[in-house]
């Protein structure tokens, strides 16, 4: 028998703040380190669910479910855009890789490590920082978020929730600072907005503002999706080479 929505919410409410925070460390960590669009979108979706889990214990469950639903709409928009671009990237790689004559890179890619090391060819060239750098930045941000949340706790929130808000906002800002790729930057932007939303939803009870903010998030996803497709369509051969 399928569980009802209240039963699901009740079950999710049993998840502790610390467990959800750990999950957010992992999902946002993946967003900062990974370059594979599938993994990025999956991490973002899980992030929305985890934020919904935390919110379900702080605000009205309806609002928490709404938050998850918005995430559930945003991720398919990004997925469809990225999928369209993925086709053009494959064709560029088919041209670029033989030209590079870099067998080692090709073998490495086939092993499926591209998400952690280089990403698609064109992104490899654009990225100013490596995976290890981003990993170390992620670890550093965990420390910074924990410290700031202890020094400047957000009013009316549990320490773990404060840490989660600071962590998400900081990771999002760092991702935005590190990349100009619409896919990755979009994930950074949504991570910042998720962190902010988690705090804001505990403060603001106005349905008008909550609804407008949800609409803004969905439209943002459309705009980011458009830029992802444009970037993919306008793939400059020189960039790839």
């Amino acid at each position: 028998m399928m569980p009802t929505l209240p039963e699901i919410v009740q079950y999710l409410q049993s998840v502790s703040y610390d467990s959800a925070l750990l999950g957010l460390f992992i999902t946002a960590g993946l967003i900062i380190v990974s370059r594979d669009w599938r993994l990025l979108i999956l991490a973002l979706l899980i992030q929305y669910i985890l934020v919904g889990v935390i919110l379900s214990r702080i605000v009205q469950p309806d609002l928490a479910v709404l938050k998850v639903l918005i995430g559930a709409f945003i991720c398919p928009i990004l997925f469809l855009s990225a999928q369209q671009v993925a086709g053009s990237e494959v064709s560029v790689q088919a041209v670029v890789l033989p030209l590079r004559r870099n067998k080692l890179v090709a073998v490495w890619r086939r092993l499926g490590w591209r998400w952690s090391v280089s990403g698609p060819v064109r992104r490899q060239k654009l990225a100013p920082t490596g995976a290890y750098f981003r990993f170390m930045v992620g670890l550093l941000l965990i420390l910074v978020a924990s410290t700031i949340s202890r020094t400047f706790p957000l009013p009316g929130l549990a320490p773990a929730v404060s840490t989660a808000v600071y962590w998400l906002v900081m990771v999002g800002l760092v991702v935005l600072a590190l990349t100009e790729d619409p896919m990755k930057a979009g994930h950074g932007l949504f991570t910042v907005l998720t962190g902010f939303g988690m705090y804001y939803n505990t403060l603001e009870s106005s349905l008008l503002l909550a609804g407008l903010w949800g609409a803004v998030n969905l439209l943002l996803a459309l705009a980011v999706g458009y830029l992802i497709v444009v970037r993919g369509t306008g793939l400059d051969p020189e960039e790839g080479l």
Partner: protein, 479 residues
Amino acid sequence: MAQALLLVGLPLGVATLVYLLRRVWAGAMIAALITLLLTWLTVRLPTGVVFNLLGRTIELDELSQVTLFLLFAATAGLFLMLILLTLPHYQDRRLAGALYRRKQEARIFYPAALVILALFGAASLSRHLGITAIFVELAAILMVFVIQTERLESTRAALRFLTLISLATPLFLLAARQIDEYQLSGGAVLAQDIERTALFVGLGFAAWLAVIPFHSWLTSTASESSPPTAAFVLITFPIVAISTLAHLVIDLPWLTDSQYLVTGIIIAGVVTAFVGGLLSAIQRGFGELMGYAALFNLGCIVALFGLGGRAAIVTILASLAARTLALVLMAACLSTLSILSANSGFTQVRGAAYQMPVAAGGLVAAGLTLAGAPFTAGFASSWQLIHAIVVVDARAAVLLIIGGVGVAIGYLRGLRMMLAAAPATGNRNDLSARRLSEPWPLLIFISLFILGTVFLGIFPAALIDPLQQFSVYTLFPIR
């Protein structure tokens, strides 16, 4: 009173029709006529509270009237310019290729600009900072499509614009939440609460007003987007931002009790103007130069805002009007020059002044207006700014003058290149090989704008007197 809603409903309703007719001449004409109608309607409508929406006031006041007038007038000017640029030349084969891209962009621009105007109209009517911020955010999302249009080379400008504006919205929502709390509590606002709200508001407006270091959305939009769309973004967004900030300090005068806000606004304005002006002097193309000159001008307006005074509102509005005039003129001139060369780099427009002298002259006139040079529309407000800031800090006045000189140098460098003889390489795409001149409708359009900017430079009262009638009831709290 509900007539004020026409300012939102009319462009929104007509946008659908314009979109359906975007491929034919009628779509552009309807868009231009509607914006002209809205321009007229804005100053004719009665002011006052329109109604309350879920406890939030919707109101049209004198300040909103002027800012909306500028928005609609600027857009009407840009629409007319695009019509003059593209429509009469369908049959001219030499121009068809050069104008193809502009026509494609215009098809997206007309309906999108109308929806953006509707959203800006809603933002201007709202007296709640959070709702205003959300409307502006919605407009910014739509602007991404206008900035990007059909360009495939780069998404940098659109992405930076979207990111920076989206990051400002949460700050405004938090500030609005705090303001609501103070208003509901009915008690005196504590000093620490003022500082916290001022911090959120200050950071949010810094992003909206492209204050250094949040300026990249403005400069990259100017350099990467086509001139009409860049001018649209550079005109409309700062006008709405300044209008919102003015409404905020007028409605909540206690915000100016903040120790840092007013000083911060002045410093941010001066630094932005100085850096913008300095960087203008070293640009290599008119597109980039447009961005940095607009940045300098915006910095001056922000500094004017921080300085305040009895005539602050009139001076700011005069400055915004001159900026609007200059940017529309600049867009018209750059669009005309794009017939000769798709790229507006100084090297590419070498010798253009001999084939398109009016467009070349208009470009320099617009640049000097943004710089606040004498005998241009920008001089009166620029003089007022220098006069006011010398009293506060003479060093800031020096920085502003250096910035203004930097902008002027940038445009004079461009003029020098346009006056240089184009190298004849035998390539058919070279300017020397293409005997093209300004289309005559645009010639008239640009000439009128040049005359307008010079006239307002010599007789500034023609601009200031009507603005005074609208802002006479507005009490500006920064003194």
